[in-house]
């Protein structure tokens, strides 16, 4: 597959209270963001277990973006701190497994439609440069 043809498949976990609302705002304000994202609404970024991220990669995602309320703003008070600690550790684990830079955590508030557009395009371009992951194919091939 040549670089030009590769369209990254990105799974996004977005918390219901800030990030999903922010993405929605981008939509209603007609701010463009890449079509590569598949958005999964979760109640809180603290709900995103590492298994969910690994499963997404295993099932064919080229990258995973976790989004949540800014520190201090989580609807459940501390869910995003939990998400941050898990993410940092997961990032280190994935680095050891040769998969660094495939997963990112970003804070997007309900009023940040513009920021969502920037964050998502940045990530899509970043993954585009890394190239397709094809985890199953690479791990199970001969």
């Amino acid at each position: 597959m040549s670089g030009g043809e590769f369209e990254p498949r990105i799974v996004v976990f977005a918390c219901n209270w800030c990030s999903y609302a922010g993405i929605d705002l981008a939509g209603t304000s007609r701010i463009k963001y890449p079509h590569n994202v598949r958005i999964v609404k979760v109640m809180c970024s603290g709900r995103v277990h590492p298994e969910m991220v690994l499963k997404a990669l295993e099932e064919g995602a080229d990258g995973v973006l976790i989004t949540g309320c800014h520190p201090g703003d989580c609807h459940y008070i501390s869910g995003n701190y939990k998400a941050m600690r898990r993410y940092l550790l997961l990032k280190k684990l994935l680095g050891e497994l040769g998969l660094s830079d495939r997963v990112r955590l970003e804070w997007v508030s309900a009023s940040e439609g513009e920021r969502w557009a920037r964050v998502s395009s940045d990530f899509v371009e970043h993954i585009r440069k890394l190239g397709p992951l094809r985890l199953k194919e690479v791990m199970e091939g001969e």
């Binding site: 298994e51 295993e58 830079d101």
Partner: protein, 331 residues
């Protein structure tokens, strides 16, 4: 004689500890020989593969297979045993999740062979000879089994009926598993035998001293602290994986002054043990500040794979280190 239950035992990529665990049954083994007939056990009994091939299909009642699948030979023999057996039981951590030999999935096949045959400090191999699948020897052609790209858990190669956990399974776990298997009342297929369905903490004597919430500003390794053996190790800053690990071992390590490293594997319905362990460890980090949390991880968790996937990397969602063809490391 013919009403005895026919069993086979086989080892794949393992250390031999699982065979030892069977011998550790001691007098029990003698008692069991009244009800069991061993038809194949390469490490102890002189039957050959051709003897198994000559048996009718499904004529062995239970095959106990330990070790991970690393060679084409392992694949061949376990497929043969599957065909000849009514039940196949994955015996021990390696057959169950890949085990310690499964950590070799962090390296490519070439890296492993090069290290083992050329680079290891204890090796003298000036010609740089590597094993070939076909070698000309004094007695003619010699065929060696092929090393697979990754080590696989048993259930990735053949259908597995039951699992016996542990590195190695304790005599008590083996005894309980055999009782279940011989009782005729089998649990649902895929069950883990001989162990608990609850976490290790549930059976641990120190659980009553475990604080409601564990929050740590640093982590200590066992050699850096004088452990109080009467208090939950987590409360003393030593990481014990009891909360995410299946119980049933009788907390042997904890009683011996060592924290749990997870050999009994995950609880039911957990798809990735390491991800659970990671989640648990992240939850004890007592920092809300990103920079400090990152520093904590940098300093105290140098090798997440070794900590979280010590016994089951091949069974994890990622399976090993991601490397593109040609051995080039990606990322």
């Amino acid at each position: 004689m013919s009403d005895r239950v026919k069993v086979a035992l086989y080892w794949c990529a393992s250390c031999g500890g699982c065979e030892e665990a069977v011998v550790d049954l001691a007098e029990e083994l003698i008692r069991l020989s009244n009800s069991l007939e061993i038809v194949f056990w390469p490490v102890a009994v002189d039957f050959k593969k051709s003897d198994v091939e000559a048996m009718p299909d499904s004529s062995i009642d239970i095959s106990f297979i330990n070790g991970g699948i690393r060679l084409t030979e392992h694949e061949e023999v376990v497929k043969l045993l599957r065909r000849k057996s009514k039940l196949v039981v994955a015996f021990g951590s390696c057959a169950h999740g890949g085990g310690v030999p499964g950590l070799a999935n962090m390296y490519s096949r070439d890296e492993i062979l090069r290290y083992a045959y050329i680079e290891a400090p204890t090796v003298i191999n000036s010609e740089g000879a590597l094993p070939k699948e076909l070698s000309g020897g004094v007695g003619g052609e010699l065929e060696l089994p092929k090393v697979l790209k990754l080590l696989k858990p048993l259930d990735e190669v053949v259908d597995v009926d039951f699992y016996i956990p542990g590195c190695a399974p304790t005599p008590d776990v083996i005894k309980k598993s055999l009782e279940t298997l011989l009782s005729g009342k089998l649990p649902p297929k895929g069950s883990v035998l001989g162990a608990s369905s609850k976490s290790l903490c549930d059976e641990c004597d120190l659980n009553k001293t475990k604080p409601e919430k564990i929050l740590l500003k640093d982590i200590k390794r066992v050699h850096q602290v004088r452990l109080d053996l009467s208090k939950c190790y987590l409360s003393q800053g030593v990481i014990c994986l009891g909360p995410v690990t299946r119980g049933g071992c009788g907390t042997l390590c904890v009683k011996g002054g060592m924290p749990c490293t997870g050999c009994f594997g995950p609880l039911d319905n957990v798809s990735d043990y390491g991800a659970r362990a990671l989640s648990f460890l992240a939850s004890v980090i007592d920092y809300d500040d990103e920079v400090q949390a990152e520093k904590f991880i940098e300093e105290y968790i140098p090798d997440p794979v070794g900590w979280f996937y010590r016994y089951n990397l091949p069974k994890s969602l990622i399976k090993g280190r991601y490397q593109r063809q040609g051995g080039g490391v990606h990322g």
